[in-house]
């Protein structure tokens, strides 16, 4: 463009008005904000929430204490000890300690579990006020929802 054209564009503040037009148009646009906590966006199906242990359809625990997850984990979250009862079909975990503060949510334990016992849940509210809320024993590994929040907050008055 000629020098005169450039000068006129600059004098009449064309670039300024163009910028103002963009912000004005976006002022009237629909906002994508989701107002939490009134609206909670459901995460995607594969979302990596808190790893939880699961039971099968009959209510029997799926974990057989094979310790594959403990070997696969890169950050030493697990401490598992199994025990097989006399005449029982499967080994069951007697001790299954899992530390949330070490978990990097990489998913190796989920991928390697042969019985699909440990899986990612959709729990993403993982805050607590005490560190012992971050240690999960065997029965705590089945907690979800409000029970999970009570465990994480570990005795907080508000959780009662």
């Amino acid at each position: 463009m000629s020098r005169l054209g450039h000068f006129l564009k600059s004098f009449f503040l064309v670039d300024i008005f163009r910028g103002l037009a963009v912000t004005l148009r976006l002022y009237f646009s629909r906002k994508v904000t989701i107002e939490y906590p009134e609206t909670v966006k459901e995460p995607a199906a594969r979302f990596r929430g808190l790893p939880r242990l699961y039971r099968d359809d009959k209510g029997e625990p799926l974990c057989i204490a094979c310790k594959a997850c403990q070997r696969a984990c890169g950050t030493n979250c697990f401490d598992i000890e199994g025990r097989r009862e006399e005449g029982a079909k499967f080994t069951r975990p007697e001790k299954f300690d899992w530390k949330l503060d070490r978990c990097s949510f990489c998913g190796f334990c989920v991928e390697i579990c042969p019985t699909n016992a440990i899986r990612f849940s959709h729990e993403f509210r993982l805050t607590g006020i005490r560190k012992d809320g971050l240690l999960f024993h065997r029965d705590d590994m089945y907690l979800t929802g409000d029970d999970l929040q009570k465990h994480l907050c570990g005795g907080c008055r508000r959780a009662q």
Binding site: L13, I16, G19, L20, V22, T23, L24, L26, Y27, S29, K31, V32, T33, E35
Partner: protein, 342 residues
């Protein structure tokens, strides 16, 4: 109308109104800024405290009220304490001379919608609003820290430089209106039928740019921007003193918007007076028109802030000395020439 009411109650009432009016507008501005900037950015902004967030400024003020008042150890205590007051004082005092509408007749008494009218009202308002420079430089000096001092110096240089085109453009208005009395200027615009903003658009644009720079607002807010290296003259202030600086900046913005409206956009006059079909607009009181116009300019302040990056300090100074001042001078000469040739 007893002398008690006419000589004591009404003036005191007007003084209270003059203090309350900018403070209320400051509250509105805080809310407006946060909501409008947020909406322009594609998010919602504060909308929980009160209906649509209108109580958010109250929450902010309460928070600042309860904060600890920290004074640096080696700070000059007198100057440190005085500077927020000076900045606020200059803006508020100038409001005494800003007229809000034609006088209202109540019975036999004429209520004037200003505290004082002066034949050099324009000059007085500009002069009073310049006192804020002292507050800035005292604040920067008294903080006893090199970053606030540098920020204060830059702010002062900016304000002083931009007062020149401000004065030159205001001179064109005074020249055309043949008066420096703010009330007269509005009445002349009424008489001539065209507002000075449309008669002299260059004056308006230069005045507006200078006004944005005077109030240290984006895109001229380098002296007080957080992401820059130098943090600004109000770094060391906390609590209510910081709130004062914050509110004083908004009050200054309201003052400058009032000035723009009075000088260039007809003050309290309704638009399109010559179009008979729109005569119903006269039913709206002048004060309401004045408020609508001010709100537009305050919105423009916020709109500009949400859109543009910041000028670097030397670009800022180069802009005013190389472009705005010669342009304002040329504009003034052109206006004089055109008037003379009429």
């Amino acid at each position: 109308m007893t002398p008690f009411v006419a000589d004591l109650l009404i003036p005191v009432g007007k003084i209270v109104a003059v203090i309350l009016y900018p403070m209320v507008m400051v509250m509105v501005m805080i809310w407006l800024e946060r909501r409008v900037v947020a909406l322009m950015q594609g998010r919602l902004g504060p909308n929980r405290v009160g209906f649509q967030g209108v109580l958010q400024p109250v929450a902010d003020a309460l928070k600042l009220f309860f904060k600890e008042d920290i004074i640096p150890r080696q700070a000059d205590k007198l100057l440190f304490n005085i500077s927020p007051i000076l900045v606020m004082f200059s803006s508020l005092l100038a409001f005494c001379f800003v007229p809000l509408g034609e006088p209202i007749r109540i019975g036999t008494y004429t209520l004037t919608l200003w505290i004082a009218e002066s034949q050099v009202g324009l000059l007085i308002v500009l002069g009073l609003s310049s006192i804020s420079v002292f507050g800035v430089i005292f604040g920067g000096w008294a903080s006893n820290s090199k970053y606030p001092l540098m920020g204060a110096l830059r702010s002062v240089v900016q304000v002083l430089s931009y007062e020149i085109p401000l004065g030159l453009t205001v001179l064109t208005v005074a020249f055309v209106a043949r008066s420096m009395d703010l009330v007269e200027i509005v009445r002349r615009q009424e008489a001539s039928g065209v507002w000075y903003g449309f008669l002299m658009p260059i004056s308006f644009v230069v005045f507006w740019i200078s006004a944005v720079a005077e109030t240290n607002r984006a895109p001229f807010d380098l002296p007080e921007a957080e992401s820059e290296l130098v943090a600004g003259y109000h770094t060391e202030y906390s609590g209510m003193k910081f709130a004062y600086f914050y509110m004083a900046e908004y009050a200054h913005m309201v003052l400058v918007s009032s000035l723009v409206v009075i000088l260039f956009f007809g003050g309290w006059l309704p638009p399109f007076p010559s179009v008979k079909a729109l005569d119903f607009l006269d039913a709206v009181p002048g004060f309401a028109w004045y408020l609508i116009k001010i709100m537009f300019f305050l919105y423009l302040y916020v709109w500009i802030r949400a859109t543009f990056p910041r000028y670097r300090f030397d670009s800022l100074i180069r802009l005013v000395w190389k472009w705005l001042i010669p342009l304002a001078l040329a504009n003034f000469l052109a206006v004089v020439l055109v008037r003379h040739l009429r």
